[in-house]
Symmetry: C2
Subunit: 229 residues, 2 copies
Amino acid sequence: MNKLKIIGFDADDTLWENGLYFRQAEQEFAVLLRNYIDPDSLHARLYAVEMKNMPTYGYGAMAYTLSLIETALDVIWSQGKVDSGILKGILGLGRGILSHPIELLPDVERILPVLQARYRLIIVTKGDILDQERKLSKSGLLPYFHHIEIVSEKHEDNYRELLRRLDVAPQDFMMVGNSLKSDVLPVLNIGGQAVHVPAASIWEHEQCEKPSLPYYEISRLGELLNVLP
Amino acid sequence: MNKLKIIGFDADDTLWENGLYFRQAEQEFAVLLRNYIDPDSLHARLYAVEMKNMPTYGYGAMAYTLSLIETALDVIWSQGKVDSGILKGILGLGRGILSHPIELLPDVERILPVLQARYRLIIVTKGDILDQERKLSKSGLLPYFHHIEIVSEKHEDNYRELLRRLDVAPQDFMMVGNSLKSDVLPVLNIGGQAVHVPAASIWEHEQCEKPSLPYYEISRLGELLNVLP
């Protein structure tokens, strides 16, 4: 732990709220389709469509909106015609996710200046590039970060390539994030360190088995100061 | 010109076909809506919706698909109900753009090995990160490039920040692309060199006045070898 040089932070649901807005949108989606399907069945249908579309659309609010529309069309298909208001409502839900204000999570503003004085901080996030840049800019947190990396996936190869470009050895890198699958497991697997800060809830797609390699588990970001060298 | 170190290439419509697929999708879109509106009026409506959505959605096939849907709903609005088949057709058009095979433009495969032996080559492209990565991977051109930069916009600031990270002076950088607005003008304005290779047609949004600073204009990529030091 003595050589730690760079700390990477996930952004969505690690530095600021994000999944919350998707869950709220899904609740409103269920209201829009209440005459056709119950919320639990709708959730299952939507998740199946999202997973089918993942290789083509990837992550983010635009991908989500397209999957909401496809799900609605599938659900209402038997009717042959769809109420324009439902579809306009869905487009509005997507735009709402893309334009919500940024709510920083607890401790973020307190710990970043402290950490910045001791380590090089970077952000490693996935999703729409424009949306991620907008959130970063709105967050006011940009001055704390030396580098922002927006990737299509957080796989071992993505981390390896990033560390190569940053010219840092895996053991000198620590990733902090809310997803075991994206922020912890791949980083441990390439020889880096990782800290898991669980979010209030987690999207099914990000769920995975607990890693067998050691990592830190903290309940809020402020505890990061206790686990760092 | 003696110190040229890095050549940046735009990707869509510079290295491979791209706008063609959007134009084909728009023709099919007009067919889907032929009972409601004529193609020219539809084009004007769509472009207005795209420009309204640009700050929120940015560039790329998902943004385009969402704008197609919004335009269709606006056009058919008076009916209150929309044929599901039209909307499923639109989702299919978007997926088609995201999954078409890569068609390299003339000279690309011939000149990249020659240039790679003399300069550091990079790609500077904008759009969906997943879509751009997929096209790069499918193109087989990745081995020629030292760095891939996917940006949300190609403004002067984006180029300045990129050159800072690559540790290269603007006068040692040359950008090659089909858009005066995105590939030529901002690069000239920050003191770099630029080569314009017009594409078969250009999206209205990328049109701009001819730059007043000097740049190279070539008709196909092979001519690049004649203008380089």
